[in-house]
Symmetry: C2
Subunit: 223 residues, 2 copies
């Protein structure tokens, strides 16, 4: 029995939800797209392993990491009995640069709406689908979406992020009203330059400290 | 690297939330209370392993099973490097009988409010706490609580279950109003005999089919 880790890393680039995939440089599944990941060593936790493998194989630094699920189908890996602990992570769009290395013949951000047409290695499609479900659920009851946005964003950008992730037309007015009622966003004293109809749009910042206080007092983030 | 599974099994007996623990018959931690569990075999998934170990070590049959979390602290087991995939399960109170066997010198249902005073084996206290957090969260947005009740129950019994699990005084009237608004409970054509002030109380049954239809149509169970 061997144990590996795999990382489903999402970012939000040019209004699209993307997942980080590498093209495998070695067999098995050489040349196929796959998640970053690898064997857990004797002296590290699975969380330490996934951060190490991500650094070695892609060079990216996450803003959010969470254990997703452990996949243990008996036939899931042609190398033999390998159980994998999958994680998912989020990265702000300004940090999405990666470093090419010996583990991958290529690395890239792939639109999650397209990946279903690719032939992914192992059971990685199943793992990505599981991560997408978790992200879609969790973004509705925890403020993790802000880890996919730049520090300052407009209300329209926040709304577009939710529409993209939930694959949904969300009523813009109700959405903005709800967020304003939450009172978790700070107006910042400058505007962006690409507002609607030439008008500059107000920029906001997520007030994490305020959220943590409100949460302790029983506030439920619920979109 | 070895892989085990552990099961946190909850039931609700005499208005108390209980967890199933065995007294270990062998070293390490002989004589200490522990979760049921053991090594995953080469030809089974972790889910198959946990069901097999539960059957062998306790004889119980679950009504609900869910993967909880994989625990991988390097020093968590004195036998060496062992990672464990923890599950949690629920059992209706009428099915809480267990079978004594060679793996355990004793088996029992322990009140979760008391277990913190026991010296549990390995990191099993940490695992139980993690399962309690999950149960407390999940019971508020999925109707899993019904797996802890008999098929027919009164509104007061349902309310008391939520009070016990959430460790909370919940406003009885609002709670019942909310559940009636959900419209997921069927009145059954008989009453229980131990109602308040000698009156017999109406019995209800959870309408799972109705819930699944409502969920597909966008209904959010949210207490």
């Amino acid at each position: 029995m061997k144990l590996t880790v795999d990382a489903v890393v999402f970012s939000y680039i040019e209004n699209q939800l993307k997942v980080l995939l590498i093209k495998r440089a070695f067999d098995p599944c050489k040349g196929q797209l796959a998640l970053a990941g690898g064997y857990v060593q004797e002296d590290e936790t699975t969380e330490q392993a996934v951060l190490r493998k991500l650094k070695d194989e892609t060079g990216v630094n996450l803003d959010y990491l969470e254990q997703l699920y452990t996949f243990s189908d008996v036939e899931r890996d042609p190398r033999g009995r390998i159980v994998t602990v999958a994680y998912y992570g989020l990265i702000a769009p300004i940090k999405t640069e990666f470093t090419l290395n010996k583990h991958a013949s290529d690395i890239g951000w792939y639109d999650v709406n397209d990946i279903f047409s690719y032939d992914l290695a192992f059971d990685h499609m199943k793992i990505i689908n599981y991560a997408l479900d978790r992200l879609r659920n969790k973004i509705q009851y925890e403020p993790i979406g802000f880890d996919l946005l730049p520090q300052y964003f407009t209300m329209t950008e926040l709304w577009m992020l939710y529409c993209e992730i939930l694959n949904n037309e969300i009523d813009r007015r109700n959405f903005i009203k709800k967020f304003k009622k939450f009172d978790l966003l700070k107006q910042v004293p400058f505007k962006n330059s690409t507002g609607n109809k030439g008008r500059k749009a107000q920029l906001y910042e997520f007030d994490e400290e305020k959220y943590l206080v409100a949460k302790r007092e029983g506030f439920n983030f619920d979109i």
